[in-house]
Symmetry: C2
Subunit: 345 residues, 2 copies
Amino acid sequence: MTDAPERPKVATMFDVARVAGVSHQTVSRVLNDLPGVRPSTRVRVEAAMSELRYTPSPAARTLASRRSQTIGLITAGRPDYGPSNAALGFNEAARAAGYTVTQVSMREVDTESLRSAVAMMVRHNVSAIVLISGEREVIGAIGSIDLEVPLVSLASERVDGMHRVAINQFEGGRIAVEHLIGLGHRRIRHVTGLQDAMDAGERERAWRETLTAHGFPVSGPEIGDWSSESGYVAGVALAEEWRRETERFTAVFASNDQMALGLLHAFRDAGIRVPDDVSVVSVDDIPEAAHFAPPLTTLWQDFDGLGRDIMATVLDVLGDEEHAPDRTTRVPELVVRASTAPPPA
Amino acid sequence: MTDAPERPKVATMFDVARVAGVSHQTVSRVLNDLPGVRPSTRVRVEAAMSELRYTPSPAARTLASRRSQTIGLITAGRPDYGPSNAALGFNEAARAAGYTVTQVSMREVDTESLRSAVAMMVRHNVSAIVLISGEREVIGAIGSIDLEVPLVSLASERVDGMHRVAINQFEGGRIAVEHLIGLGHRRIRHVTGLQDAMDAGERERAWRETLTAHGFPVSGPEIGDWSSESGYVAGVALAEEWRRETERFTAVFASNDQMALGLLHAFRDAGIRVPDDVSVVSVDDIPEAAHFAPPLTTLWQDFDGLGRDIMATVLDVLGDEEHAPDRTTRVPELVVRASTAPPPA
DNA sequence: CAATTCTGGTCGAAATATCTT
DNA sequence: CAAGATATTTCGACCAGAATT
């Protein structure tokens, strides 16, 4: 006996056509749901397809139609909780919609790598490119590239030339600060996220405007970069100030949970009790937040839903390029735990 | 004037051939580095290629050659720190090697979704499939699928029918437990990771065998699932036991940092001081670990290197299917912080 | 004859034009 | 002239054998 054939040969349109007793072109028509096929023959063809376990060849399809049913996903930066979960939600949604996802992840972003990633995706005839980053520099860089494909980006600020999706970070920040104000705080400090991040900007703006609207003082903020370490550094500075001043701040709004963890660490080192001396509220509600010392009051965000929003927007865009609506209306929800309390008397 | 053409037409082999004054086949030869091309004509062809900004069409290439220079990546489960960073490292390494990555992420895994993901990838003519999961059920499920493509999986236990890559978790566990023993501990408890996870199994085995080798008692372990919440639950149980018994345990080895965080929470609630009453050591060294209360002694792991190992193994496998070596020799490194100390006198 | 280079067929589907009733 | 189904050409590269030096 000779060896089995190297690769199991798969059925083609012609095989299906033969079995169904029609021409290959008719097979193509039922495949693409085109009109002009009698229901009876359509059924025959479909039967033949499933009998032969026929699956169209993506490569042939792409070559002939210049469309690949693929979406390019570019993620930039470290795999933090939010972006990772949004990417996961997007990936699942894309698959559910019948799309394949080609992913390029990069820790560091420079225009050249971005350009080559985009070029590669365009060459693969992706239907759209999705960018999960949220940093202005990255978004600006990709915006400067002449991509011949629709672009959907995670971005909480308005950006020209692309469709965007976001959770309403301004509203989230407002909720956090109002929560503190509702408890009686008025001297509320802020630790920002990465300076270049749009989400961080929106939260800072919300903090500033909410305090201003109430006529409370705006001081600071401390600059962070999302990391616990930066939160710790900010916390050390804040703790020192707290010990020095008489008109002390009584609460801090941190732009994410990791930085809040660093803050708690610094405050603990400095003998500042949370929430007795200072309240802390932050953003994300990572699964660990419930077990910080003390358990963290924070804003929960639906990252999975955000990922689905991205795919929904992609589908909108593919359906009607012009008036695809941005999806930016999801609002974070406050989860109250033990890191916030009324200010000391 | 009429509109500009819908899509900018890209150059083909024929265009290059015409400009270089050769046949398309010669272009193909220089493209694929095949022999039998005079250096002088090779230069002419290359000049023509760059002049026309020629890039070969992936679709046409795949169709004709049945190879796509693509690797399929399947990730299962929540995007935790380790797997996410390994996936990132892999993605960057794959790109550096000239491969495209098609990714399927799923939160929940069932055989049917796995099967369809694999089928889709095979239909796309991927060169190999990479699985990042580490759970026996998932690995078993994909192993039961007849995939006509090499499979490389993250797996710290030996598995038939696939190549595997892993960090040496047994050795890591040994290092952690020996660290505690070196400090004077002998009653050392363990909180496992997800029961079905191979990494968790290896660490548990290391804990058990190391204690046994020293003639110390093995009691427990508590069963966790990687989450802080499960660590907290285990911690509550351990704390209660600690209060009750006279022969108390003096240290706990937790299978990851998140669970250690839950442990710390439970111990704090119970008035057990870490490290004065009980020492805690765990695994991963997530960036937050340095800011836990107290800062965590834990095992750092090179997930980025792990991701690169995966790609290196893929390249080995593609080069020589049979004797591609598994890469399982990376060893975690102990990072000593403030959660471990000698046992109370 | 060996080293090059060329011609023509192939991959599997889509798109368009062309018959049938 | 509609519908329905059939031929033919095209997408852009790979591959084998033929033709050229």
